[in-house]
């Protein structure tokens, strides 16, 4: 609460105010300057609900890679549930929020990837071939206009983001389609390649 305000007189501070958060499109508070990543999520139509907020609070970068929110995430599912239950009180139409019980947990509480998925060592040669598909849109030299750069992304961020697309937590139908048919090993291979692209 040092960055966000919530309640009757809440204003934008370092972060935007959190009134009427549920059902709001991401990056939509008037007068607040969001990161480019959050603007993109706004354009993609990401809506804050129990599932998306849960994912964001657990690991902000899983959902919004370039978020400016300086918060490492909340690993404990119960704590996340408490935060969301608290914030729900400040939404205008609580009846529109799935599940009536204030402490209801989202349908898929674990965004965190199992350790064994994060531990897969990516095959760079395979990743190089698979990456040729990415390069149709994401330019290898890192230039970005309209489509973000993925060159030199840290491996773990890459893996987390791709799994979030695969599970359709992150919006954007092209990326959901691309990630949706990649195996855990293929995602690891891509991450290994892009982290150290030549």
């Amino acid at each position: 609460m040092t960055c966000h305000e919530v309640g009757p007189d809440a204003r934008n501070r370092i972060g935007p105010h959190l009134n009427d958060l549920f059902g709001r499109i991401a990056g939509a508070v008037e007068g607040f300057r969001y990161s480019e990543s959050m603007e993109r999520a706004n354009g993609d139509g990401l809506v804050w609900d129990l599932d998306t907020l849960n994912a964001y609070i657990e690991n902000p970068k899983a959902l919004i890679s370039g978020t400016r929110m300086n918060f490492r995430g909340l690993a404990d599912a119960t704590e996340r549930g408490d935060v969301m239950a608290y914030l729900r009180q400040f939404s205008a139409s609580p009846r529109d929020i799935p599940e009536a019980v204030p402490t209801a947990l989202p349908s898929d509480p674990e965004v965190r990837l199992p350790e064994d998925i994060l531990a897969i060592e990516g095959d760079r040669a395979w990743g190089e071939y698979l990456a040729s598909e990415c390069k149709t849109c994401h330019q290898a030299d890192g230039s970005a206009d309209g489509i973000p750069s993925i060159t030199y992304w840290p491996e773990e961020d890459f893996v987390i983001a791709m799994h979030a697309y695969k599970r359709q937590i992150r919006p954007n139908p092209v990326m959901q389609m691309m990630a949706g048919r990649l195996s855990d090993e293929e995602i690891a291979a891509l991450a290994a390649y892009f982290a150290a692209i030549e």
Binding site: I25, R40, N42, G43, D44, G45, A125, W126, E128, Y129, L130, S132, E133, K135, T136, C137, H138, Q139, A140, D141, S143, A144, D145, G146, I147, P173, V174, Q176, M177, M178, G180, R181
Partner: protein, 421 residues
């Protein structure tokens, strides 16, 4: 004849083939010739040269020194792009990647001798040939039209001078005039393309000539992203576009270029511009080389894009019958990467991974009103089969449409860098 240790180690078969082929005597590297420098051929040439790091000799034969992409040419017609922004050259391909770029026409392919004859009289020999010639038109598919009439009734279905001509004709239309399009039957290059073009023409006319009309004769019952286009036309250009499908004679047309008349089901329409997009087949050289079947397109092996007719040849892009994949620049680029790896595997023994294909087609309906459709594909024994896709929805808000448009700009920058370097 010098054979590098690397070549022997990695490629027993290719080296043996090189030794036994008389045309290749004196060569030290396997040779790939690529016919056509568009989204398929350009990508294949660049990827084979780049990833083989000099182990494969790559020659690209492309008649044009400046290549105008067909994709985004509608945006030029709509005034959203400069023509120069869709023009590309092959300098980087030669200087950065070592591709031997030959600006010439291929006039024949001798598949037994594995040689390609050029209009200049030169001959190129190959170990593997990539054929990516795009499309040509089926003679007589629109009665009254042939290529000699393309100045009066442009097709503008290949980028460049035809695109410029059509734009000039639209701008010269009299007040309240009629722009007509004869839309093509399936299969054809760029399924949403005719309808994106209608959108772009409507955009121009709604600003400069708002009482003008657009008349489309269409032999197809339905078309790509139809609900999205129809919604966009009624929102942005109400009353301007009239499309006559087969129920209204759209499949029974004749054109009279001298009189500037379009005859639909016997009814004569006087028109001011007539964009005739004929039925299509694989680019001419694919037929000359005997690579096309009765469909007019080239059958390929789904896992590799290898020709079903000649294992030394790979066919890419619009010229192929690629199963569920549409004919698009994105598809050709995707197929080229599969073929490039398969060819490197055969010639230098690198690891080959299972083919992955994908496609997305973005279309612009009006200013910052972009839509998209896409799918991913995998190779089965029978064909390249869709494994799921998506399409923009009607009623999407303007922020999403703007983002989709901006995404398409990013894609254009990305894919042209991926093709041309």
């Amino acid at each position: 004849m010098k054979i590098s240790r690397r070549l022997f180690l990695y490629s027993g078969t290719a080296a043996a083939a090189a030794l036994s082929a008389p045309a290749l005597l004196g060569q030290t590297r396997p040779r790939v010739v690529v016919i056509g420098g568009g989204a398929g051929g350009g990508t294949a040439a660049r990827y084979i040269a780049k990833d083989s790091a000099g182990a494969i000799d790559v020659t690209l034969v492309e008649p044009s020194r400046t290549y105008y992409t067909c994709f985004f040419s509608n945006l030029y017609i709509g005034g959203f792009r400069e023509l120069s922004s869709i023009a590309h050259s092959y300098g980087t391909m030669a200087s950065e990647y070592g591709v031997n770029v030959v600006h010439d026409w291929v006039v024949g392919v001798d598949r037994d001798a594995r040689t390609v004859a050029l209009a200049s009289g030169d001959t190129l020999s190959y170990d593997r040939l990539v054929v990516s010639p795009g499309i040509d038109f089926v003679d007589g598919s629109v009665p009254g039209w042939d290529v000699s009439q393309q100045n009066r009734m442009p097709h503008s279905w290949k980028g460049g001078s035809q695109t410029e001509l059509l734009k000039a004709q639209i701008e010269a239309m009299p007040e309240g005039g009629v722009f007509a399009m004869v839309a093509p039957p399936n299969p054809y290059r760029c399924p949403p393309g005719p309808y994106e073009r209608i959108s772009m023409v409507a955009h121009v006319l709604s600003q400069s000539n708002p009482s003008a009309k657009i008349l489309v004769a269409d032999p197809k019952e339905s078309y790509s992203k139809q609900a999205l286009f129809e919604e966009g036309w009624s929102r942005h250009y109400p009353g301007m576009v009239e499309r006559l499908g087969p129920d209204f004679g759209g499949n029974n047309v004749e054109v009279r270029p001298e009189a500037m008349e379009l005859v639909i089901d016997g009814v004569v329409e006087k028109v001011d511009v007539c964009n005739v997009i004929p039925a299509q087949k694989a680019g001419h050289i694919a037929g000359v080389a005997g690579l096309a079947d009765d469909s007019g397109f080239c059958p390929i092996v789904p896992a590799s894009m290898q020709s079903q007719i000649d294992p030394n040849i790979y066919v890419l892009g619009d010229a192929t019958n690629a199963g569920d994949m549409p004919k698009s620049g994105y598809s050709a680029n995707s197929q080229a990467k599969v073929a490039a790896l398969a060819i490197r595997g055969e010639l230098t023994g690198v690891r080959v991974f299972p083919a992955k294909y994908s496609n997305t087609c973005w279309s612009l309906i009006a200013t910052e009103d972009g839509v998209k459709v896409g799918a991913s594909y995998e190779a089965t024994d029978e064909k390249i089969a869709s494994v799921g896709g998506f399409v923009s929805q009607t009623g999407e808000d303007s922020a999403l449409r703007k983002q989709t448009y901006e995404e398409s700009l990013g894609w254009y920058a990305g894919i042209t860098a991926d093709i041309f370097g």
